[in-house]
Amino acid sequence: MSKPRVAFFSFSSCEGCQLVVLTLEEQLLELVTLIDIASFREAMSEKSDDYDIAFVEGSITRTSEIERLRTIRERAKIVIALGACATIGGINCLKNQFEMEEVQNIVYGKMAEKFDTIPTRPIEAVIKVDHWIHGCPIDKDEFIEVTKALLLDKKPRIPAHPVCVECQMRENVCLFEKGMVCLGPVTRAGCKAICPTYNDGCVGCRGLIEDPNLSSHKNLLNEHGLTVDEAISQYMLFGGNSKEKYE
């Protein structure tokens, strides 16, 4: 059986999630015995348009990206959104709070009209996505899990529950008890609760769980003397594409 051909693509992003793939080190060597890498600009110069699986990092913020992404979809059998920018829009969605013209002027000044810009969207707003690897950045183990599942033609084991589960398993003291805002109770787990473990409130980089109890989360904030605005401002760091979801 020939090895599946895998390509990595960058859209609007820091390419940090692809960097996480490169930090797999020894596992990476094992991985390339199972797959052929067709394109991966962060790691190699060769490129090819012949691939089966496309890992797409980044969000869509310019019209030209839409065409490029559609072409990838046409060529690939499987498309995987890699990291928060691709899965939920991510940090790039911050600009959606402004008028596009204003954003253009702030960023490009006199050159503004040479660079078009559109409200940021996750890749699934443009094409059909088969799998999602959440997080900013992605979790190494989850990348491996999804890749293995694809090779085995199985459903990847990705948690649907909130961050609190992993946080409590690690015996962290709840950040609400320290007067901090945390989106853990409404955010998808899989990150091993890394931010709360290091005393930083969850900002929701993996997106909301399927069925969050937002009104109860808001009451929880109030009870700890925190405001919904504080939570929204935390949520907006990654969730700007779906502000209405938290509101």
Binding site: Q27, E30, L31, L34, I144, K148, L151, L152, R157, A160, H161, P162, C164, V165, Q168, M169, E171, N172, V173, C174, F176, G184, P185, V186, I209, E210, D211, N213, S215, S216, H217, N219, L220, E223
Partner: protein, 350 residues
Amino acid sequence: MKDVLIKGKDLSAFCHNLQDSFIVYGVREKEEGHFIFDEIDEFSDSLEKYKPTILPPKKYLFPQQETLLRFDTEPHLEIKSVVESKKQVLFGVRPCDIHGIGLLDKIFTSDNEDSNYLRKRADTLIIGMDCMEPCYEHAHCASVGCLDIDDGYDIMMTDIGGVFFTTVKTPQGEEIVKKYVEYTIAGEEESERFLKLRSDRKGRFDNKIETEVSNLPLFFKNADNDPVWKELDERCLGCGRCNIVCPTCYCFDVYDCMDLTMTSGERCREWDACTLKDFAAVSTGENFRSTRGLRLRHRFNRKFNYLMTKYNTSFCVGCGRCTRSCPVNIDVIETVNAVINNHNNNHERE
């Protein structure tokens, strides 16, 4: 072995000496007011400041994640069971958690024997630390019959004022006392002081449940349509923390994890939680308990009805961890009493 006395100042040496033969897990303060069981070099239990640890010591018998077997598919299928276990001492386990472990013993031996749990359990010695005062406002051990304990530990220590009155229950307990700590045989005066302290404590532990605990299955059997579940449905975040911190929750998910060789791998288990949405979802997409309220109702039934009926004992040990950890203050005692009162009010109306 007769009851013995161990001086408070000798506990550190006791812990230290035990390390010659065991991994010693004891209580330490992780952050102010928050305690955990952890590997310890010396005795660090804060005794009168103690509040139930974030996770119960069950994690050393039934860990969060655990490998059950390893398999190879080439050259031919080969499967080997994996049981990771080492001699360990749990130092300073309170009565509620000893009861919790006793209940897990029942669970993991009845119907099917769980060899991973049983091996770890056989390799474990339990040094109990008795409670003379309620440790915090959420404790309701006495309400569910889990304050007094006379089994399930190897030795039990009670602070009778700088000196620990120590009951030795098992031959293994006798061995560690003789080998690893200085002790004297308890005299009549100390025995009397111990008994008096034990009987005096009764008044300090309130009964918080508004019925005999043995009546609870009956109340819960008739509580499927209780309005309390609707109210909790609105409040519950479905975050699973109550399950994760519970000394008697034992549900787990089993999954296979292939190595990158794609020819070998492991079968593992991980704690699961019945308050999570996926718990009762099936592959065709249906969910037997699709709302948070239904899932919480199920959890309460597990503690006070289903398992209680099967084993004839409360599956809540009264540690109060679920109440303490619930971000939205869902209180186990308030909920149980609501079920009792709603039932009684309905009955009066009829």
